[in-house]
Symmetry: C2
Subunit: 168 residues, 2 copies
Amino acid sequence: MTPSMYHASIPAFIRMMGNLAEVLKKGATHATSRKIDPTVLINSRLFPDMLPLARQVQIASDTAKGCAARLAGQEPPKFEDNESTFPELLARTDKTVAFLKTFKPGQIDGTEDKTIHLKIGGESLTFKGMPYLLNFVLPNFYFHVTTAYDILRHNGVELGKKDYLGKF
Amino acid sequence: MTPSMYHASIPAFIRMMGNLAEVLKKGATHATSRKIDPTVLINSRLFPDMLPLARQVQIASDTAKGCAARLAGQEPPKFEDNESTFPELLARTDKTVAFLKTFKPGQIDGTEDKTIHLKIGGESLTFKGMPYLLNFVLPNFYFHVTTAYDILRHNGVELGKKDYLGKF
């Protein structure tokens, strides 16, 4: 069983969105136990012109759902990006996982050479399916999951690499 | 051409180690132009018990070279982890890329079910090749490349997502 386009994408997204949810839950618990306004964490950034925690979660979600939909030839669903609490961010990770779970291997496998058009910050990019997944989607997806973790870790939430990697 | 074990690993590592080198060069330039002691950046952490920039680069390197060697049935080469300057960290990324380039697809492909034993922080983990690559190596590799970027970004180095993702 080779790592098909499906294996290299959907199960990895589902796994890491679940891990991200656990990381966010620890953030929420930390805020409660330390009597920190949760919005301080949700709006926290590593630098003034970097994106805050909420946007990191939303873009991780967008990258995963956009990849699944585009490879399968669907229009990516639009989520409103209006999450501003931990419960809302957890609902976002849940909603993303539920969407990802609708995809069957047959919808994603064989899309290695499928032409994918993207607009990113006003720039148009065109990829074949495999480099889109391996060179654009995976680095981008892991960037936002990691940066969400880094923002909470930077704010003193007690997290370790196991929270990010999940159980084996 | 499906995304074989080779495609999903070695070219992605080579690409991202190159992007990481460009990110480090911008860190070095920033230190010079702002008259910042470069070791301040190299020892910088996002939180006191997180690893500093130099270790993030070393672990990204270790994760990539360890994956390539283990899948191919070789002993991973030991690098000394003694880099303490930007030129030394750039030599480390170069050395890692040179090692990765020695692998041919035939050495990595077909290792989906190969048994991989790992010791991580005193814990023994056993994987099959494909979950090792997709669930352990890729999340870990991207974690450390992203956190290296995040540390420099947090210190005011002018970087953008394009530096991390590289050219398309």
